[in-house]
Symmetry: C2
Subunit: 422 residues, 2 copies
């Protein structure tokens, strides 16, 4: 049954992967450790424990799935109790999603939280959890708890690549991003890691991602920043239109070594640079998730303008990005722009067929609903053969706009998923 475990190791690194894992700076107040449980994956780290300084605040967004994992239920409930104040730990395991595991799943997250709380001397609801991997298999809490003493004894602040590696499932490379923002003229660090390669569609956080900063930002403000940013980043990517049961995005603000004055409002202009850098981190992570889309060979940017409003533009963009016919055409370097029209039509959003302008790789293809006489298909085909594909669609209806990102649909996707688990 565990053929997938061997395969996950054997998957070649995505051709869209960055040359190397970026340099993530330490975040004051964040320490972590990883280990290999040797349960689903053999010989590689698959368990992450992060421990936070007292006073750390947390914000979270989660899958909109009606069948969320036990860990998602746990986090939502814990945040309901603490309002995001005083979080002390994050535990992430890869290989088993602890989803659709019924009462046993709930018992597992309770047992893990209790054990972490005992180890660190905090309350169970100060422990955040996330699980990713196969759905429907019971997760023995001992797989996690047996390693807690060792992890708690091995905490450090620098091995971000190991943290990013430990949360991978079929990801072919670890994903991280780092920025330095200024608040009151003082620098704060923002680090992020993410995992996710299949079951990626925008209906909330769309995978696992954790962002850490030493800025001192109250949970309520952090939650507003997070929610707004997600709509322009993780909610604008799609790999296969499938929504995970486990999508979790948590942001932790330790407030350690943060020399800026207190922040109390989302609208505080002193947060401007932080918001920009925070969004850069999330966008970079979201792009990395797409670039590791299962079987992805091309990174596709779809810009929609002239829609009724921004929401409509995003819906049109996602209709294009989720179309198997468009994604396979890109895989085959077939500049089949007719399929773009099809996707605009099926989105259900307002469009006037005879006003749709399409550009491929910056080259105008159609104007006023007709292909241009001097459209050079060979040039569009050449563009579709590159790693970075750009499609622009102007609807000519209003001023709404959005950018979404996806990857092509290749034989690799079929191979990986026809064969992932058993």
């Amino acid at each position: 049954m565990l053929k997938g475990s061997a395969m996950a190791k054997d998957l070649p690194t995505s051709p869209l992967a960055p040359a190397q894992f970026p340099n993530l700076l330490p975040v004051a107040g964040v320490e972590f450790a990883t280990t290999a449980t040797n349960s689903r994956y053999k010989g590689r780290d698959d368990l992450l424990l992060a421990v936070f300084a007292e006073g750390t605040e947390v914000a979270g967004v989660f899958t909109r799935s009606k069948a969320p994992s036990a860990a998602v239920d746990w986090c939502r409930a814990a945040l309901g109790v603490t309002a995001g104040k005083g979080v002390r730990a994050l535990v992430v395991n890869a290989g088993n999603a602890n989803a659709f595991t019924g009462r046993a799943g709930k018992a597992t997250v309770e047992a893990v939280a209790a054990e972490v709380a005992a180890t660190l001397g905090c309350a169970p609801h100060d422990v955040m959890q996330a699980s990713t991997g196969v759905i429907g298999n019971p997760l023995d809490p001992a797989v996690i708890t047996a390693h807690l003493p060792m992890l708690a004894g091995a905490l450090g602040a620098t091995a971000w690549d190991k943290a990013a590696n430990a949360i991978r499932t079929t990801d072919t490379f670890p994903k991280g991003s780092c920025r330095i923002a200024e608040i009151d003229g003082y620098p704060v660090v923002i680090d992020g890691i993410a995992k996710g390669s299949g079951m990626i569609a925008p209906d909330m956080a769309t995978m696992l991602s954790f962002v850490f900063t030493n800025a001192a930002i109250p949970a309520a403000v952090l939650q507003d920043i997070l929610a707004g940013t997600v709509d322009r980043t993780f909610n604008c990517i799609t790999v296969d239109s499938d929504t995970s049961t486990s999508d979790t995005l948590l942001a932790f603000a330790t407030g350690q070594n943060a020399r800026h004055q207190a922040i109390t409002s989302f609208d505080d202009p002193r947060l401007d640079d932080f918001k920009v850098k925070f969004e850069e981190v999330l966008l970079e992570l979201a792009h990395l998730v797409v670039k590791d889309g299962e079987g992805a060979e091309k990174f596709v940017t779809i810009r929609v303008s002239g829609a009724e409003d921004d929401r409509a533009a995003r819906k049109v963009g996602l209709a294009i990005a989720n179309s198997p016919l468009i994604k396979t055409a890109i895989a085959g370097a077939d500049a089949n722009w007719g399929r773009v029209v099809m996707a605009v039509g099926k989105s259900g959003e307002a469009a006037d067929r005879d006003k749709i302008d399409i550009d491929i790789g910056g080259q105008p293809v159609t104007r006023e609903g007709m292909v241009l006489p001097d459209y050079d298909e060979a040039r569009a085909t050449e563009h579709f053969k590159t790693r970075d594909v750009q499609i622009d669609v102007a609807l000519g209806i209003g001023t709404g706009k959005a950018t979404v990102w996806t990857c092509d649909l290749t034989h690799g996707y079929i191979s990986i998923n026809a064969d992932y688990r058993s």
Copy 2:
């Protein structure tokens, strides 16, 4: 650019194709002829002309795409003029969808209708049209009109296989169905043909299909029968979640040799058998479309029960049927029922994770949100290796139910679509 034309001929017949084209009886009042225009496809028929006796009535349902083809626009407008009375002809070409062709596309359908009308001595709005194939290429009306005199001189009532063949694009086999219904104790024939293998998703007729009967049924009644039946047949199939710009389903009732008394109401109990047989024809055609899904190797039936209502059940069923992760798991004979839970969750319909019952191939897999201790995964895997895959999902919420049909997502789909046009 026309690599697709060679390829279309070379595609191997779907392994799910029936052994042979069924025996379709003649329909009194329907004559037709086919020919090869040698435009997109070389050496095979790609143009169909059907001519109807005076007094024939027609009903139609069309794509919900916001960017419909010129032929769809034409039919909708013509039906608006005639209310479906007195239709005389149907022209169908394959290879060029005449969609997103702007003013030129409109001029083409007008020219074709005028020429057919002149040939037959009827009004242009008595001519129905459908086009299928590549989107965005102008369609020269001469491709069609040059052949009209020959077609009008070659009309016959029996070569249904040729008619079904002439409307194919990437279809690997012709699709037909025939039933005999009784009205007032007198038999009437119902014949149907269809095409469609990609860009198949329920948002109306989802492909081209034409149904012919010699029953005498007023257009308004025929329209009600058609609309209700489509929701349980063509709107319950999906291949790739993409919606065509050209989907067209037309039903023609000639009234020739129909010895039954006049029908004036949809609720007339004398129509009961006709409705049953009409639905059988549409269902058979819809199943054949799925069985010719691009790259399909397995026919998948998904039955959903216990939903909030029938609409919710269909939405859950389609979320399962459209999930690339489920479709690839079926292709790989991986009984990954966790992905079914994922799809239920993402459908957005009411569900209680801890009440979901899943059966695979008749074997209970989960009850009350947990996998059963005696679930035999090897048996489920064996079932997934067969050509007919059955997944049952009981939500335990209400009494809504629906059945939807789809196929697996294979390397064949990628090969066909990465390479269809250019």
